[in-house]
Symmetry: C2
């Protein structure tokens, strides 16, 4: 199948592209960033520099698509809250333009959308969080993700566009930028490698669900050909790791002590956020293959190759 | 209290304005339409012609507000589905601009938002529908209403803006335009008065919840001063009326038979949609005061005065 990744040059896009290519799919990337050196993305058949929402600008250059993987996003939770209008404009209105553009095409590709299990549910009322948990996002990022999810459901009902939604926990792994505003693993690993202290808010007991991006790639691969009734799947580790445990794992892998800089706890951080991945296990026949230690080791190995 | 109604010149705005004035509040209207003749809106202290989202353009002219009633909307369900981008731009982004504008003010008015019980829940899974029913909107209109609801919740949490959401069933009554694209009561009453046939999709057994707009006005009045923890309230009749029953009521009030034009049933119409109004009864100490027959009679009486 021809798979086109919108946002294929990013951290997740690379992992998902690799996984799709390993499963013998033809993989294209559409990205607003300039094309990457071909040697760095050997799994790609082609790259198109274009805005994801302007379907006409990339559709024919990829010769269409059987599966579209929609990862394009201009925000992360922190930036969406600071500039919610820009978040709505690029991500929600952009996706509506994408859907309208696809209606013009003579085929209906399957659309896989990367949503956020950390953002759409809000403060967990039960843990682990399954897909039917109430959706009460605590920030603009989650509101936009949820609105896009609703529009996809409506688009299938009204215009027969098949879709699957993957609600991700906290992906980490190679290619995640350590200078980013999200991705605590990348930030911690990079600082630890360079002998810098790690900022810990509160007592470090906050628990999150971290999933290696290679496992995320395999989940998208499964969703690309899934035949059941399910439309929304949590994809995470299904178990939690505390901030303190991350640091202990880093200390073990680096074989030295890491300095912590303790800051006041942040009240708005829910103490625990772990996804229930039973549905993905049952319907996608997927589960994470990499343990946290192995995933972290891979991440560190890659990070050592950075200049 | 000073109450400013955003969209105060419309059908609901007039009823809510009247109800607030009867409760001795000072009522202003902000509307993009030209000011109405003062004699036609005697309950208003003042009118400002402005776009609701441009707070600076109306805030000082109303001398600020203790309560803002946000009814401004450029769409109805049918038009939002045809032009979802415009719906998001005017209604969602407009509301985000409103919220940003209010942050600049030195007081935090209470914001009352008119949401839609007919749109945000989607196909009813249980009837009557209470406020905790899953939210699976079946059209763009409901997705936008729901996104605005989430942003209000977040705005209170992050910026201390007090709010209440009123999820309306199907309001009807005086001032509802009979040529509109929504409002079956107004359309039916107008056609029946003029001896025209009524379009009935299917067997006329479809049941909806109709609430007279004067009762909606009283509900907003109660929400303006509500002190409890509730933030979201269904406001409807709490019981259903079928399309056939509407016609029978019209026949009784007009004392003659009305011709029906039977059209094929519309599959996307849920057979029943009735709101559970127990929370509004308990917390707002509100319930509808007008029976359907009395409300319909008032509507017909007003409609006879139209040119």
């Amino acid at each position: 199948m021809r798979c086109v990744i919108l946002g294929g040059a990013g951290f997740l896009g690379r992992h998902i592209g690799q996984a799709l290519a390993q499963a013998r799919h033809e993989v294209w990337s559409v990205d607003r960033s300039p094309a990457l050196p071909e040697a760095s993305v050997p799994w790609l058949v082609g790259q198109v520099k274009a805005e994801y929402h302007d379907v006409a600008s990339w559709w024919r250059r990829c010769s269409g698509a059987d599966v579209l993987i929609h990862l394009a996003s201009s925000t992360v939770p922190a930036t969406a809250n600071v500039a919610p209008l820009a978040d709505v404009q690029h991500n929600l209105m952009g996706t509506l333009q994408l859907l309208q553009g696809l209606r013009e095409m003579d085929v209906r590709p399957r659309l896989l959308f990367a949503s956020s299990g950390g953002a759409v549910y809000g403060r967990p009322q039960t843990v682990p969080i399954d897909e039917d948990h109430p959706k009460l996002p605590m920030g603009a990022y989650g509101v936009t993700k949820l609105a896009i999810e609703h529009h996809l459901r409506i688009e299938e009902a009204q215009h027969a566009l098949p879709y699957r939604i993957i609600r991700l926990s906290n992906p980490y792994g190679e290619w995640q930028r350590p200078q980013g505003v999200q991705g605590v693993i990348a930030v911690f690993a990079h600082r630890a490698l360079h002998g810098e202290a790690l900022d810990v808010w509160g007592d470090g007991s906050v628990v999150r669900d971290f999933v290696h991006a290679a496992d995320v790639g395999r989940a998208f691969c499964a969703a690309a050909t899934h035949q059941g009734d399910g439309r929304v799947f949590n994809v995470g580790a299904g178990k939690g790791i505390s901030v303190n445990e991350i640091i202990v794992s880093l200390e073990r892998l680096l074989e030295r002590c890491i300095e912590r800089r303790v800051l006041p706890g942040r009240l708005f951080d829910p103490p625990v956020n772990v996804l229930d991945i039973a549905r993905a296990r049952a319907e996608l026949n997927w589960e994470p293959a990499l343990s946290f230690e192995v995933g972290l080791e891979r991440t560190l190995r890659w990070m050592r190759t950075l200049p």
